[in-house]
Structure formats: C-alpha cells, structure tokens
Assembly symmetry: C3
Homo-oligomer: 212 residues x 3
Amino acid sequence: MTPVVRVDWVLTAVEIAGTLAFGLSGFIEAARKRMDIVGVAAVTFFAAFGGGTLRDILLDRRPFFWVQHSEYVWAVLALVVAGTAGLRAAHLSPSARPMLWADALGLGLFSASGAGLTWEMGQPAIVCALMGVVTGVFGGVMRDVLCNEVPAIFADHRPYAVCSFAGAWSFLAVAWLQGPGWPALAAGILVTAGLRLIALARDWRVPGLAGP
Amino acid sequence: MTPVVRVDWVLTAVEIAGTLAFGLSGFIEAARKRMDIVGVAAVTFFAAFGGGTLRDILLDRRPFFWVQHSEYVWAVLALVVAGTAGLRAAHLSPSARPMLWADALGLGLFSASGAGLTWEMGQPAIVCALMGVVTGVFGGVMRDVLCNEVPAIFADHRPYAVCSFAGAWSFLAVAWLQGPGWPALAAGILVTAGLRLIALARDWRVPGLAGP
Amino acid sequence: MTPVVRVDWVLTAVEIAGTLAFGLSGFIEAARKRMDIVGVAAVTFFAAFGGGTLRDILLDRRPFFWVQHSEYVWAVLALVVAGTAGLRAAHLSPSARPMLWADALGLGLFSASGAGLTWEMGQPAIVCALMGVVTGVFGGVMRDVLCNEVPAIFADHRPYAVCSFAGAWSFLAVAWLQGPGWPALAAGILVTAGLRLIALARDWRVPGLAGP
C-alpha cells in the first residue's frame, strides 16, 4: 500500500504544479495584452483547465476533472488573486526555470494521463496518442486564441506538442507491454519532460516548410 | 396555478428579449467587420445561442435549449432577415438604452438559469457559479473570437462577467435557503441586471493589473 | 446488393476526397502563415475533421467518425508528411480546379450526411439543416480561427455556406418524401456541389449589408 500512496501523492503534486504552471502562462499572456482582471482570470482558467476539459468533452467523460477536484478551481482562483494582489507581471516570466520545469512535468503528466484514459476506453492507438497531445497542449491553444494570437505552439518552432506526442506513445508502448499502471505513466512523463527540457537546453528547432 | 403561469410567461419574455439582444450584438459587430450576410447570420447565431450551448455541452444536456425551443432559431433568423432587409447598421447601437436593458435582463436570466441547472445536477457551488457565468457571457466571447477580436468582456474594463458572477451567487444563496424556485431566479436576475445597470450609469470600472 | 456496394464505394471515395481537400486547405493556409510543421499538422487536422467532430459533439455521438475510421487519421497524417516532404506550398492552390471539385463534393456529402444523422435522431427540420451546414463548413471556420483570421466563409462574399444550406434542405425534402436513403443523399450532394461550382464559374456574390 505504502508505495501506491506515495506514487499517488507524487502524481497529485505534479498535477497541481502543472495546472498552476499552465494557469500562470495564461495569467502572464493576458496581463501582457492589458486585459482587465476578468479577462486575466478567464484566460488563466482556460490555460489551466482547457486541455483536460476538451479531452473530457471529446471522450464524453463527466464529471470533468475540475468538478471532481473542485479544490483545483479554488487553487487557480487563488493564483489569480495572488497574482493580481501582489505580483508584478514583469517579475513573472514563462521562461523562468521553475516554471519551465513545472510546465514540462505537467505536460508529461497530462499527455500520459490523456492517452491512458483514452486507452482504457478501448480506442485505437493513434487516437490515444492524439488525445494525449490534446490534453497536454490545448489549454495553451485556447489561451492564445482568446488573446487573439496565432497559437504559439503552432508557430514558435520550439518542440512542445512533439514532446507530448512522443511521451504519449511511450506511455502506450509500456502500457501495451505491462498494462496501464504507474510504470507506463512514469515513462510518459519522463519522455515528455526529458525531451522538452533537453530541447530547451540545446535549442532544438521544429522545422518549417520548405515552401516559398 | 395562475401565478406560476404568469412567472413562466415573464421568464419566457425575458429569455426571448435577452436572446435577441445577444443576437443583435453579434449582428452589429459582424456588420462592422464588413462580413457578408452569411457571416452576419453565423455571428448572430453564435452570440445568441453560444453561451447556452456551451453550458449544455459542458453539462452534457441534450437536446439543446434551442432544439427544444426551435422557435428561438426562427426568431433569430427573423432578426437576421429584418436587420438585413430594413435596418441600417448605423441606426443600431449596442449601447442604446433598450438594448442595454434587454441585455442586462438576459444576462441575469442566463446566469441564474445556468447556475440553477448545474445546481440541480448536484455540482459544487463554485462550479454552479462558473457555469452561470459561462452561460451568460460566452455567446459574446464566441462572437468576438469569430470576429477576430480580443473578447470585449475581457478587456473593456466594464463590469459584465462580474455582475453575472454576483448574480449566480445570489441565486445560489437563495436556492440554498429556499430551494431553487422562482425567488432564487428573481434574486439572480435582479442582482445581475441591477449591478450591470448601476455600473453603466455610474461608469464603474474593472481594474487592470498593477503590472508594467 | 451490388448497387448498394457500388454506392457505398462511391460515397467512401467522395468522403476521402472531401476530407483530403478540406485538410489540404488547412495545410496551405498554415504554410502561408509560416507555421512550423506542428502548426501545419494541427491546422490540417482541424480543417479535415473539425466540422464532423463539432457535429458529433453537438449530437452527442460517440465514437467520432474519425475514431470509427481511424484510417482517415492516417490518411490525413500521410497528407501532412507528403506535403511537408515533397511539395512546395507555392505549387498548391486551394483555387486549383481539382481541389475545388473535391471540396465541392466533400461539402455536399458532409452537408447531406450531417443533416441525415440529425434527421435520424428525430430533430426539427431547421436543426437538421443547421447541423448539415455546421458539418460542412466548420472545419474551415476552425482553420481560420486557429490561423488568427476572420473566417473566410463569413466575409469573402462567395457562396459556400449558402450552397451547403440549400443542399441540406434538398436532402431533407427528398428524405421527407422517400426516406433518408441514397436518393436523398444524392440530391444533397448534387445540389450543394452543383450550386457551388456554378457560383464559382459565374462569379456569384453573397451580398453584404446595406449599412454604412
């Protein structure tokens, strides 16, 4: 029992850290767009919960993960209040090292868990992998659409969705061999977060098209 | 029986007035963006039905309210035809007094009813309140996203979602004390619409962030 | 049996051609916006599958059509790989004649099938027609929103959604007379595609508003 509890505890910590990192990226982008606090709060919520909610809509899962864990809603609300009351947007940077780590781990967890939930519903592997990517990256896409920007992950030439895709397939490979337990989850998280952090450290680029 | 019928009749009138006010805001914005009549019709429909439809998707409710009441679809279609045939966009203004009243009442009704439908499904209070806000304001958000604008309610510093949030909590407070009947609905509508109209009259502002 | 098989075969061919034409329009627009290959792939997928997926969400149908036919996902993925590896975006044009034909046939098929699936669920006719239009045109709307453009079909004054609407009503008229079999489907496809191709050939325009 003890190791299971410990794993659960670690996963919950990663999930909260990832959710807050996603939310903070929305907070910062909305603040940069000079939105009022309503807009800042809305974009923060979409960045934090958008990917998982879209996954739940696509898989027809209810209640949503943030309804089951409504303490997450309060945590993100606290993030908005704390950010608005005390912090200056200038002092927050989505490229700060702790945020990048939290974001990478959150991306890994959401990619693996998105693929895993789809796997448990007996879907084809390519669908599981796509759903992992949707879960991981669509909060950021909604954030950018609401801020009236081309989604950064579509155009900044930094590996992000690619790491999520690789992590989702890693989860699926281990789950296919051993069942969808915590080794598969660990594989998904480590491959995603590892690739993402190496890509940032070495400045890897996603190519564009060769077109004119 | 009679009072119930009268309340229902009032609610239906408010719902239709609110839907048409929401739709008209879409009509005007699309006309300003020089869309063709297809775009004007599409944006009008999204502004009128977008918030309630998103609520129904999130709550997994079917049929949609506009499928149950398909006469609402015809009413909005009539609005598009009447607007296109007879009116000049210059003569319509979303800041005209009758539109502001219809919009404020509609916002109140949709906020309260969104919170109420979620309450009946046994969800946590914070989720009910958020769903009330989504129902009230997301037609306008979709309208602005389709028109390629930053959503006005996120950045115009005018209280709108805040009024909806307060009205949803008012509904919930009365519903918690007395059950989700028409006094709760009236509280939600009056608090939302009252705050909204006072905010407009006194030019209240939503603060931005203190950041640079 | 043989004619049924032949009809099915024709429909599948039209469906694949339409999906690839829709996807290719996303590929080209994303390449023009200088997205990286992640963005190009994402926009291609949304353009190809967005309309049908939104229809399935609105109708609460699961599994999605691209989960049932996961070979379509692979086909679109192959389109992305082939487009990225070998083609120059300059040599692809959404206004090339074969693409316009494939797009028009796909629009007709998706409009008729969207209306038909809704009809089978016993919905009002106006809802069936709107769902046919959503199925046909919303991949393109999502494509343009993700590319941070006003949706082309809302503002380019070319008949597109109008053809889809007319085709959906044609399907419904024949289905009402004869049941929703292949004559109704053929009527929907032929009216949509025919109107679309005539409109392009004769340069028909959708009017704007008379406003200032």
